[in-house]
């Protein structure tokens, strides 16, 4: 029986604020899972802490709501032990780029085949609106006592520099586009990263839905001048086509340059994709040929309550 969108929804009450950008992301994620027809028990959503951390409870697949900043660690462990699972990790920008930044960089270096989605809103919502890593220097969102004293992290740039092999940005109010991006990210062979711009209607009074829509740029008229535009509409080619240093460098640098664009024009879409970098599982199978057929979660370790691992060779080598 084909799975419908409704099958991916739980009955858990959603307590996000009215108008929260998170709704668009969870909807897009459910739509993507339904469209890909991934069985509910073959996918796990790992989530961090904060508003976005609750995501896993709203999706009717395996859901692991982890610790602040540590979502990637749990997710990678799960995926390594059971590589057949589809793994999507989600979390806020404070979670992933503040307290969890070390894990973000390390995950990029590994390139495990899974997807990481950051709900990027510039504030720590659930603790009442402190500045988060993506808030720009000098900006003062409404609950800050004084303007932000830190320079912002560039999520796309950091992902590209850390070795993520699929790097994209979505917008939570463009749900269809976001759904398509999620599908691309999940299907990508390697670690994919999605930075999703997600207005926090309660605490971020700068990067609001209206701001993204460019209402302030419309001047006298009510006509909208959206800041958001799609890279694909500009014929931007993010793909590394062949394994050559100059090709890779060109694609990396154009992604980095694009990631710096902000203010009047904000690109969304795929910034960078490289499937020529080996996945972590390939690096493992080089050493452990049957890793994917017989991963940790599948291995037989006992029979009738007794161990089946044969260590006699090791023990013999220690024998006197």
């Amino acid at each position: 029986m084909a799975l419908k969108l409704a099958d991916y929804k739980t009955e858990v009450h959603n307590d996000w604020c009215p108008g929260c950008g998170d709704f668009g992301i969870v909807n897009a994620l459910q739509m993507a899972l339904a469209e890909m027809g991934i069985e509910r028990d073959k996918a796990t959503i790992f989530s961090g802490i904060g508003c976005s951390g609750k995501t896993s409870h709203f999706i009717n697949t395996y859901g692991v709501h982890t610790l602040h900043g540590r979502v990637l660690t749990f997710a990678q462990g799960g995926k390594l032990a059971n590589p057949e699972m589809t793994v999507v990790a989600v979390g806020g920008d404070g979670d992933g780029l503040g307290i969890g930044a070390g894990h973000f960089v390390a995950a990029g270096r590994r390139n495990i085949d899974m997807t990481y989605i950051i709900f990027d809103n510039g504030v720590y919502g659930l603790t009442k609106g402190q500045a988060s890593p993506t808030l720009k220097l000098g900006e003062k969102t409404k609950s800050l006592p004084s303007p932000n004293t830190n320079y912002n992290v560039n999520p796309i740039g950091l992902a590209v520099a850390s070795g993520f092999t699929f790097v994209a940005r979505g917008y939570s109010y463009d749900v269809r586009h976001l759904k398509d991006l999620i599908i691309k990210a999940v299907r990508h062979k390697g670690l994919s990263f999605l930075d999703v711009l997600q207005p926090c209607p309660t605490y971020n009074d700068i990067n609001t839905r209206d701001w993204y829509a460019g209402v302030d740029l419309a001047q006298e008229s009510m006509e909208r001048h959206s800041r958001i535009y799609k890279l694909e509409d500009m014929h931007f080619d993010p793909m590394v086509h062949y394994d050559d240093e100059s090709e890779v460098n060109e694609k990396l640098s154009q992604a980095l340059i694009k990631s710096l664009e902000w203010g009047q024009k904000i690109p969304i879409g795929v910034f960078y994709q490289n499937e020529l970098i080996s996945q972590y599982s390939t690096r493992l199978t080089d050493r452990i040929p049957n890793y994917l057929e017989n991963p940790p979660a599948k291995q037989k370790i006992s029979e009738n309550g007794l161990p089946v691992t044969d260590v006699s060779e090791i023990l013999d080598s220690l024998r006197i």
């Binding site: 859901g63 692991v64 990637l72 059971n82 699972m85 390390a106 979660a297 161990p307 220690l318």
Partner: protein, 636 residues
């Protein structure tokens, strides 16, 4: 025939082959039938600082080192300065005669504090601050001196073998020191040559040079020195004996127990285990395709913990191995594993804290920390092994406990164990059982991961299992695993989880919880690696007609109060022996049993306890001459 109890020390700068020298010596002694207890001491340093290895050799069962060194093999000045006083009367010192005139100030790695103490002694005894000075003291005590010019040996050898490269080959000093020792004690030569062959099995040329040098030095000692009263000519080999290093118990134990995922961050002294697991990652499985252990070096201990939990959620037996500073970083996630009832095993190789403390030295400092690790109330097991052989079987137990009770297990090990090299009975995998508890293979119908059940344990699904969808959260949750703040569910969930502690105490057999080596008027309570020196000290006292009891507490949390109380009910004097400052087990004991500890024997120098020290303190206690706190300090 009198029994053999011989202690050999080799020392030298880190990186000069002290370890490999000691390994050769241990192997030779083991191959000639002796029991071995060896232990390595080293600085937190890669090259140059002083390291040493003490190997005790006997034809009886031994479980510890003793204070007195029978033979010291040195090839540098620092070893002599630091250890000359430990050599027993009638013992011997093999040393490089070219070092005679070296002054303490010329040895830059001798620290000020040590030098001050040494200078005081030398001044008092009216000796110069030189090697000659300290050796005179040894000689006056009755120690035999065996001067050898290491350089001269190499030059002679170079001439004899027409191999000029040998001349000045300082790298060979360790082999010379070992071979001189073996010649002096009249050990058969063949095991030495075989041992060199096996170490350099891939470099036959180097093996050849080493064998020539070994042969020459062996003959040199045998022919030139004849006044040494100790000889080790071999004894009956015991069947099924293995020679193991400290981490082999837990690492081979993990393979056998079916641990298939280990994440770790490098830290002394825990990482040896992970590196060993990785170098043996391919596993042979009876009647099945090959298995493997996935070993992941993570970016930090927080990640090691997160990955392990993620892997454990898939039904994989997963583990990490760490030491105090790393474990400190893991505690937030430990609570997550606790509230989510995730079976994980943390192998905690303790060292001396606080903070970085004495990073390469021993300590049992983390017992209270392990028991209390993590915020909030959640059940966990803290289980301690007393020796390497035990740690193999205990590793299997820890995984079973984790699976059966669905709680995190902290397996306490330490640096004393990790840097020991001992002979023991071959590990028997068939004595390890594997019990996965209520782990499910198949699910039909509605499933609730945290279903309320009679005994508080819920059947466990795993990520990826058909129809087994569940949720986890670090928040309080309902039976499905969804967040709840309902006060009534909160009570039921807390009670459900915490009731495990009673289950653990009622279901784990008594002799897995506590090992009693007999109780008497005076009974020792202890835990972990103090077991060996305690057992040896007790048997020394027994020979003098003094009977001391000993109960080794293995399950420390939850604490088996009733059983321990019942064991100690006729004991008049309780002695707590631990390698920490505050007597941490004693605190737990008092808290649970409301009985005072009468004496503490404690050591927190970072060096392991010797049986001599424990013997001395116990004797003082029995003779009513001891302080309430006996603080031990032996060891350089």
């Amino acid at each position: 025939m009198s029994s053999v109890d011989f202690t050999w020390l080799i020392g030298g700068p880190q990186g000069s082959g002290v370890d490999s020298g000691a390994n050769v010596f241990s192997k030779v002694c083991a191959q000639t039938g002796y029991q071995i207890f060896g232990k390595r001491e080293f600085y937190s340093n890669i090259k140059g600082d002083h390291s040493y290895f003490v190997v005790r050799v006997s034809d009886k069962d031994i479980h510890s080192n003793v204070n007195d060194i029978t033979l010291m093999a040195s090839f540098d000045a620092e070893t002599i300065f630091r250890h000359f006083n430990e050599v027993s009367k009638d013992g011997g010192i093999i040393y490089d005669s070219d070092l005679d005139k070296i002054t303490t100030d010329e040895v830059h790695t001798l620290d000020t504090y040590f030098k001050e103490r040494l200078h005081k002694e030398l001044t008092f005894k009216n000796k110069p601050f030189t090697i000659t000075g300290v050796l005179e003291i040894a000689k006056e005590k009755g120690v035999n001196l065996y001067p050898v010019s290491f350089r001269e040996i190499l030059s002679n050898l170079a001439e004899e073998t027409e191999n000029p490269k040998l001349k000045g080959l300082v790298r060979m000093f360790n082999v010379l020191a070992v071979s001189l020792s073996l010649g002096l004690i009249k050990m058969p030569l063949d095991p030495l040559l075989q041992s060199i062959d096996s170490i350099f099995s891939k470099k036959s040329q180097i093996a050849e040079i080493n064998k020539q040098a070994a042969n020459y030095a062996y003959d040199y000692a045998k022919s030139k020195f004849d006044n040494f009263q100790y000889s080790l000519t071999g004894t009956a080999k015991r069947p099924d004996t293995i020679l193991v290093q400290g981490h082999f118990g837990t690492s081979i134990g993990k393979m056998v127990s079916g641990c298939r995922f280990q994440s770790y961050y490098p830290i002394t002294p825990a990482s040896d285990e992970s590196v060993y697991l990785e170098s043996h990652e391919l596993l042979e499985i009876q009647n099945d395709r090959p298995g493997s252990t996935i070993v992941i070096q993570t970016e930090d201990e927080i990640s090691a913990m997160g990955m392990m939990i993620g892997a454990a959620l898939t039904g994989t037996r997963a583990s990490t191995s760490t030491s105090g500073p790393g474990f400190a970083l893991m505690t937030e996630a430990l609570g997550w594993a606790g509230i989510n009832e995730v079976p994980i095993v943390i192998t905690l190789y303790q060292r001396s804290g606080p903070s970085t403390g004495l990073p390469t030295r021993h300590g049992q400092d983390d017992l209270l920390f392990a028991v209390h690790a993590g915020h909030g109330d959640f059940p966990k097991i803290v289980y301690a092994s007393g020796d390497i052989e035990e740690s193999f079987y205990d590793t299997g137990r820890c995984f079973n406990y984790a699976d059966i009770y669905q709680i995190p297990v902290i397996h306490m090990m330490d640096k004393f164990l990790s840097s020991s090299v001992v002979t023991c009975k071959k590990f028997d995998p068939q004595k390890v059982s594997i019990d996965r508890g209520l782990l499910l293979d198949k699910i039909e119908g509605e499933y609730k991961r945290f279903a309320f059940t009679d005994d508080g344990i819920s059947p466990r699904s795993r990520l990826g299992l058909d129809n087994g969808v569940f949720w986890n959260t670090g928040d309080e949750s309902d039976e499905f695993g969804h967040i709840t703040e309902d006060p009534q569910i909160r009570i039921k969930m807390m009670d459900k989880r915490m009731s495990r502690l009673d289950l653990v105490l009622s279901r784990i057999p008594d002799d897995e919880q506590v090992v009693s080596f007999g109780v008497s008027d005076y009974t020792i309570i202890s835990w972990g690696s103090t077991k060996g020196p305690i057992l040896d000290a007790i048997s020394m006292l027994k020979k003098e007609g003094i009977d001391i009891g000993f109960i080794q507490i293995k399950l420390i949390h939850p604490f088996p109060s009733d059983y321990v109380s019942s064991l100690l009910k006729n004991t008049k004097t309780i002695i707590d022996i631990e390698a920490n400052h505050s007597g941490q087990l004693g605190k737990i004991f008092k808290q649970n049993i409301s009985r005072e500890i009468d004496y503490f024997i404690l050591k927190y120098t970072g060096r392991g306890m010797t049986s001599t020290e424990i013997y001395d303190s116990l004797k003082k206690i029995v003779e009513n001459k001891a302080n309430k706190r006996e603080v031990l300090s032996h060891g350089a």
